[in-house]
Symmetry: C2
Subunit: 127 residues, 2 copies
Amino acid sequence: MATPDQIRAAVDSYVELFPTEQDAWLELFAADAQVEDPVGSPLRSGRDEIGAFWQESHAMADSIRLERTGPVRVAGNEAAFPMQVHPVVGGTAFVMDVIDVMSFDDDGRITSLRAFWDPAEMRPANG
Amino acid sequence: MATPDQIRAAVDSYVELFPTEQDAWLELFAADAQVEDPVGSPLRSGRDEIGAFWQESHAMADSIRLERTGPVRVAGNEAAFPMQVHPVVGGTAFVMDVIDVMSFDDDGRITSLRAFWDPAEMRPANG
């Protein structure tokens, strides 16, 4: 089983790499990982579909930055953490509150990700 | 489907009622709800077993207070939120970081709860 330290390091890499490093970010996932982001949207299965998800997310925004806003809660081979997502769209900065829930394989790779957020709650960063 | 407002109200009631109001707290759950607290521990199924979980939690502490530390992230009929749990054990105040993930039925009752936290991370509140 992945150790809590491995899991925390994977989460920190996820947050750091998401903005601009698609290839290194995809390497954080197991080959057959599943992503549901946001919860309720169609599952993305495997690195090809998860890469397409990354492309779509970045196509909608000039840039997207992630900021972890509290400790990673590790429970066995799973973890949850709170963050704010900071997209810039058409030159305007927005912010969204998100909680990601992930599970990990023995190598510390992400096997599933579920992201809890509501698109209706996106708001201007200075609003 | 429960509305986001119903879900947020149920979470606030959960946090408020847990310390001392066992019966009202149990009423927040659907009759066949499942609780996994912490994630990785045996499932508690139905109000009788969930009530036993409440009893066990409170038997271990002089008191337990919950404090939500960020917004409730609603996604469809599910939600996640960060909190700190403040148990007092043997006269000493401790604190733990927790994220709860819940799903809800059409009436806004909790149908499942998974609590992400690591007992090894419990620490004195002033430590």
